[in-house]
């Protein structure tokens, strides 16, 4: 842990001890580092976080599923384009939880332009299906192996990925290009 976390957050010692309700509890299984080597690990407000390389993320997430993290709470993404001190453009967030003993773990995966691609985790958690579609829709991260990677909230003809930081708040006028159907055409 000689390098600071990628997004510039430096956990203070006070935060390390602030694991809510479960002092000293460590969510990361000890066997993880034995099998996959040393991973970047940090903690903030009692929330544990590991950073995983793209190449091994599928194996590591499958291992975490087997070691008790049976609930995939969320899959989302952050675009670090304008973030001070960031080294990568996109940071994917996998929020995991264990229903048996209420552990939680945040898994981060960082990818970059020009072709941000990560393996899909739908084979591990079925819940990832729509969550990954939403990330594809709004961030343009491609999930290889996803069974049905279509846009989720935006229409099929939309070309941009609007939650990227280089997309303006008020849009680029894509909606003006949609065909207008009159009652007679329809």
């Amino acid at each position: 842990m000689s390098q600071p976390p990628t997004d510039g957050s430096v956990p203070s010692p006070a935060d390390q001890t602030a694991v809510a309700g479960r002092p000293g509890a460590r969510a990361v299984p000890a066997e993880l580092e034995v099998r996959f080597g040393t991973l970047e690990h940090s903690s903030f407000r009692g929330q544990e976080r590991i950073v995983v390389p793209v190449g091994r993320m599928f194996d590591i997430l499958a291992f975490l599923k087997d070691s008790g993290f049976d609930l995939l709470v969320d899959v989302t993404c952050v675009d670090y384009l304008e973030y001070r001190g960031a080294r990568h453009r996109y940071g994917l967030v996998y929020l995991l939880a264990a229903t048996a003993d209420n552990r939680r773990l945040i898994v981060r995966v960082f990818v970059d332009d020009p072709d941000p691609t990560v393996p899909s985790v739908v084979p591990i958690w079925g819940a990832a299906n729509w969550l990954e579609r939403e990330v594809w829709d709004l961030f343009g991260i491609r999930f290889t192996g996803h069974p049905d990677l279509r846009r989720l909230v935006l229409p099929e003809g939309f070309t941009a990925h609007p939650l990227r930081k280089d997309y303006p708040l008020q849009g680029r006028g894509e909606r003006h290009n949609f065909p207008v159907l009159s009652r007679d055409d329809g």
């Binding site: 903030f44 407000r45 929330q47 229903t99 958690w125």
Partner: protein
């Protein structure tokens, strides 16, 4: 029922069978209640497959969240799950306060607990009422809606708004409880159990309703976890997860209540879990009202997040400075350059926000984890093999709110 037994999607050959019907359901339909669309493939009256479509209400809430301050964005969270907006307010500021590391005052914790549980009751009333309405029990629906009106009245007395409450603030709430609010909540606690008994007598053993919902849309415990179900939908399938117990936040750790579960996982079980949760919510509200602590409702000046009271502004130099700084856009909160996730047990399931702070008083990223999306994605799995008339029962029991679905 042979089709229901196989979870796999029908093969391409099966899809191209000529005798299958394609039926469009929504986006505007009285039984979707909100704006969502289903493309159903029917064999006679049996649903072979369903293709859910969403996005009709997409308004870019998460993008807006990157441009509004932590206190401004609470008005947008009202519009997510508009059935229980005050629970969204609590969820948003719970996440912001987790990021900022703020400890609330005991009075604020209790007040937020009380309003969260009132929101849960009003949400469950609407969900079960709509299930009743869609399966033919109109009286039940009216009973439910009348009681929702009482809760709206409490909220209106509390903060001036019936629907879009925007009640919470960073480090506190916008208004303290007044004696009139307390009186109205106590009156609700007295009258509501009787209505709840009436409602249960109307529907719980009603033959038509039981036949329409029992054994329909069964979700097994393993499927519930694998597909990310939370809240009453998961608890009706035997998952005992409830964040109020598992990760006690606000005042839940001090209060005595039970987690309501069922094992069947069908529409009827989801109905029963919601009915029982309303009774537990009443217990929580009653206990929290009895043990409502005194003292300030907002955090103090030293935390530099909530506006100081007028008397502090006018009589102390710290109050004046704090009021000035919080009103200026460039010297308000001290936000760490860090990211955190915090969730509450919203009426619909786990409602969480993943917030990235970059030092400014706006979130760099404000991700909402909406329970409705996960529940709607389960829908095709639940409906396969059932009849067309079961679509509304299953859809109603999942309590999908399109504004939260699309954001």
């Amino acid at each position: 029922m042979s089709i229901a037994a196989s979870p796999a999607a029908p093969s391409a050959a099966q899809r191209s069978e000529d005798y299958l019907w394609t039926l469009n359901f929504g986006p505007q339909h009285p039984a979707t209640h909100t704006t969502l669309r289903l493309v159903l493939t029917l064999e006679g009256e049996r649903v072979v497959d369903a293709l859910p479509e969403m996005g009709y209400l997409h308004s870019g809430f998460e993008k807006i969240g990157e441009h509004l301050t932590f206190n401004q964005y609470v008005t947008v969270t009202d519009r997510m799950n508009y059935i229980s907006p005050i629970a969204n307010n609590v969820a948003w500021h719970h996440a912001v306060e987790t990021l900022l590391g703020i400890d609330l005052t005991p009075r604020c914790r209790h007040i937020r607990t009380i309003i969260s549980e009132l929101a849960r009751i009003s949400d469950h009333l609407l969900c079960n009422g709509a299930v009743g309405l869609d399966t033919g029990a109109f009286t039940f629906f009216l009973y439910a809606f009348y009681q929702r009106e009482v809760i709206y009245d409490i909220f209106e007395t509390l903060c001036g708004a019936r629907f879009t409450n925007s009640y919470t603030r960073v480090g506190g709430v916008s208004q303290d409880f007044t004696p009139l609010v307390i009186e109205k909540i106590r009156a609700f606690l007295d009258t509501f159990p009787k209505t709840l008994d009436d409602m249960e007598r109307l529907l719980t053993r009603n033959r038509i309703f039981v036949d329409r919902t029992k054994g329909v849309g069964v979700l097994s415990k393993e499927e519930a976890i694998a597909r990310g179900a939370t809240g009453p939908v998961a608890r009706a399938s035997g998952v005992t997860r409830d964040l109020r117990k598992d990760e006690p936040y606000l005042a839940y750790g001090e209060l005595d209540f039970r987690v309501c579960c069922a094992a069947a996982g069908d529409c009827y079980a989801r109905y029963l879990v919601r009915m029982q949760e309303m009774r537990e919510s009443l217990r929580i509200v009653a206990q929290a009202m009895d043990s409502l602590p005194g003292g300030p409702v907002n955090v103090g000046i030293d935390q530099r997040t909530a506006l100081p009271t007028k008397s502090q502004v006018y009589t102390t130099i710290e109050g004046t400075i704090s009021h000035f700084e919080l009103s200026m856009s460039n010297r308000g909160f001290e936000v760490p350059c860090a990211e955190s996730y915090a969730a509450i047990e919203a009426p619909n399931g786990e409602l969480g926000f993943y917030i990235v702070g970059d030092g400014s008083d706006r979130a760099y990223r404000a991700r909402c984890r909406p329970p409705s999306v996960l529940h709607f994605s389960i829908f095709p799995h639940l409906i396969r093999g059932h009849t067309l008339s079961d679509v509304v029962a299953v859809l109603g029991s999942l309590n999908i709110i399109a504004a939260e679905l699309d954001r």
